[in-house]
């Protein structure tokens, strides 16, 4: 057996009283893809930051190709042959591809020689790994998928032998993700070692050779991928059995609750984002809107929620609601029975500095039952908040804690508790499980399904295709402000939806009956 490409022995790191990494040891063979999964805050990012020289470990050793290596800063990590592709790209947006690639790895004090050398080398890398990018393109004009290629090229240009990718597919379309994995395959075949951090169990199962699971700062297991199953991994992540599939009975849709006709939305830059949409949501059904981020779904939710203006007609329980001017606000929307769990819960769903109990009444603070003469009935609100947090399993169950001190999943539960318990006719919910732990996802999905079973209408927007497919009773795909198709989740597959998400409406070649996506792969685990 050859020396491992990378080996960590007993890595520990604490931030104050929080033990982010505790005695972590892994060993990754060269020419393999090693997956690391774990929930939010499990310590994956800390571990990778240590490996990339961002943090110094309190204890432990790092061996690269069998040789003990100190990594005090990123420069040392690069010198040791480690390249990192961050979840949020570290690119200079108004620089060209070439400039971004040479930044920090210039050949000398003058740029011209560096640029021409890099141009040559880039051509070389493009041929070798199928990584084609126009070297003179400006980053901000590139698609997200191409920007990610630039990040990979940056690492390869620095002669990286070990490539770490942090949640690489979160921002990609299914087709782009496929391309990425083809590239990774090729890199693996060339002998590069790849560490893949992801929360998507499917990616782990399909592409990795070995996988490590992290929970609460500890490495709970390292297994060969072929010897494990998604259920087993999920259990290792959460520490208990997790129901990965959404358990729901067939929908029994009733009367139309929301009826959208010819909705158009122009954003504040004057760009039309929603280009004439017709959509109806009935009582007792979940309509899922699939699409790559930025194709008008957010604007649709914003207009429905009353914090953006649009034109067209929207009927709520048969009566028209104003889309601009007086009455086009959240207060009026809530009055007609629309609740909204916004996409960006930290900016639009909560006030992060305020305590949990205050956050449980925002938007409903005019409700007569929580007034006490001229003042608010703070005691009553507090008691109700405590009860809500109990019912929605918010941890820690401390209403006095500021919203920012809860984890993503628990923040979402606070918002959900507020919006669902108002008993709305229509629930708008955007990215319900973004940044939410796998254990909390199960709970949140169950709440959404319960609400549906009570005969409420639910409009769901998510960029997680798995989530759309497993929760929705009807799937509507948006591309460039238009609805490109509507599908029955039982009668479609990821490929078909992927084409619709890319604006291709002729899906006859891939139209399936769902068999291509076996049920256990419809699971998703945000971590």
């Amino acid at each position: 057996m050859t020396a491992p490409a990378i080996e960590l022995k007993g890595i520990s790191k604490a931030f104050g009283p929080v033990q982010a990494n505790k005695d972590i040891s892994i060993s990754v063979q060269p020419g393999t893809i090693h997956g690391i999964i774990g929930e939010n805050g499990a310590g994956k990012s800390t571990l990778m930051s240590i490996l990339y020289g961002f943090y110094k470990a309190d204890a432990g050793e790092i061996f690269i190709k069998g040789k003990k290596t100190l990594i005090p800063d990123s420069q040392a990590a690069i010198a040791a042959g480690i390249g990192m592709v961050f979840q949020h790209f570290k690119l200079v947006e108004n620089f060209t591809v070439l400039e971004n690639i040479i930044l920090g790895a210039e050949d000398g004090a003058m740029l011209s020689t560096s640029l021409s050398n890099a141009r040559r080398e880039l051509k070389h890398l493009a041929e070798e790994y199928g990584l084609n990018v126009d070297p003179d393109a400006v980053i901000e004009n590139l698609s997200v998928g191409h920007q990610q290629r630039v990040e990979i090229l940056k690492a390869l240009y620095r002669k990286a032998e070990i490539l770490i990718l942090d949640e690489p597919t979160g921002v990609l379309t299914p087709a782009e993700a496929d391309q990425l994995f083809r590239i990774l395959d090729r890199l693996r075949a060339e002998g590069k070692t790849i560490i893949l951090i992801t929360h998507k169990l499917r990616e782990i199962m399909e592409y990795t050779n070995t996988v490590s699971v992290m929970r609460r700062g500890q490495m709970t297991a390292t297994v060969k991928t072929e010897e494990t199953s998604p259920e087993h991994l999920a259990e290792l992540m959460v520490g208990r059995k997790v129901l990965l599939r959404v358990d729901k009975a067939p929908a029994e849709p009733g009367a139309t609750v929301l009826d959208i006709k010819g909705l158009r939305v122009v954003d504040d830059k004057g760009v039309e984002r929603v280009k004439g949409i017709d959509l109806a949501v009935r009582a007792g059904e979940i309509v899922g809107i699939a699409g790559v981020a930025g194709n008008g779904q957010s604007e649709l939710l914003e207009v429905l929620g009353g914090f953006a203006e649009g034109t067209g007609t929207i009927l709520m329980n048969g009566s028209e609601i104003p889309l601009s001017g007086h009455g086009a606000d959240g207060q009026t929307r809530r009055a007609v029975g629309i609740s909204h769990v916004p996409e960006d819960r930290q900016r639009e769903g909560l006030i992060m500095e305020f305590s949990a109990w205050e956050n449980t009444v925002f938007g409903y603070h005019h409700a007569p039952e929580i007034q006490n003469g001229l003042l608010m009935d703070n005691k009553g609100i507090f008691a109700e908040a405590e009860a809500k947090m109990e019912r929605f399993d918010v941890r820690p169950p401390d209403p006095k804690l500021a919203a920012k001190n809860f984890s993503g999943g628990n923040q979402q539960k606070i918002v959900l508790a507020r919006e669902i318990e108002r008993n709305p006719d229509l629930l708008l919910i955007g990215q319900p499980t973004r940044g939410v732990d796998i254990g909390a996802i199960e709970f949140i999905h169950q709440q959404i399904v319960n609400l549906r079973d009570q005969g409420k209408a639910i409009l769901l927007v998510s960029v997680e295709l798995d989530e759309i497919m497993s929760l929705s009773d009807r799937i509507v795909v948006m591309f460039d402000g238009h609805i490109t198709g509507e599908r029955d989740p039982g009668q479609t597959n990821e490929k078909e939806l992927g084409l619709l998400m890319a604006g291709i409406t002729d899906t006859s070649t891939v139209a399936g009956n769902g068999n291509t996506t076996p049920p256990e792969q419809e699971v998703h685990a945000n971590g």
Binding site: S74, I78, M84, F86, K90, V92, F95, E99, L103, L111
Partner: protein, 336 residues
Amino acid sequence: MDFLTLLQVLDTSVRLATPLLLACLAGLYSERSGVVDIGLEGKMLAAAFFAAAFAFYSGNAWVGLLAGVGASIVLSIIHGLASVTFRGNQLISGVAINFLAAGMTVLAAQSWFRQGGRTPPLEGAARFNPIELPFAIGPNDAAAAERPLSQLIAEAGPFQQFYSELISGHSILVYLALLTVPATWWLLFRTRFGLRLRAVGENPAAVDTAGISVVWLRYGAILICGILCGVAGAYLSSALQAGFVKDMTAGRGFIALAALIFAKWRPVYALWACLLFGLFQALELRPDIIENLTGMKVQVQLLGALPYILTVVILAGFVGKAIPPRASGEPYIKER
């Protein structure tokens, strides 16, 4: 307006544009690296005082220049400590530096020279005197011909007029400031340092993950900013004028910032922007020209206010969209 008058106005414009240009380029380095510096005014003022004071004591303008640059660098480092090392609010730090300089210079001037907060007038080698370029008509020719210089120039051909009046006869610092423009362009767009500097002002995380120190890059930019402000201040008190007077920068640091926005953070545009502001200031000194051109009597005060009005107009965003370096004004905090 005849050709010679035009040349005279342009000549004055160049003189007045020089401190603006130096300060504007100083701000350019700082902001391109992501550090907003509204303390240009204070740094120039401090430099103006120390340059005048040391030039007076030593009788050597170059000693004054060094002292001015030194004072400006000290203030720059304070700004760097506050905004880079301690990640404080860059605007507050800049305002503090302006107040500090405004008070400190007058206090020091009064206690050293006891002339009501000014330095004694500078003479001879304590000032940066005009340089006469080869083949230009200058004071020496006038002395030799025993006739006034203005007469000699008026009799010369248009090219000689252009050369002698506009090109020749400035202090060395004017030429230095003009040379700083191509030098800055070259440094920013043709060298490794420039690439990194521009990158750190746009996305410091990209620089950090590439293994380069964000802190040192920003200090480098701040240092250059300090040097250029120092030269600008020294120019004010020992070249443009002969000695330091209270608040002699008169808002030039802020006009330079406006010019920087006008120039969209690009060095060559900065030159044109500063020359435009310089022209306004020059017209203020020649109300007769405006009167001849427009046929109306224009209040001198209104002319004096022109650069400031233009500043407001520019800052209000009427001159196209100017996109600042994306990370400017934000301290860099390493995220997990």
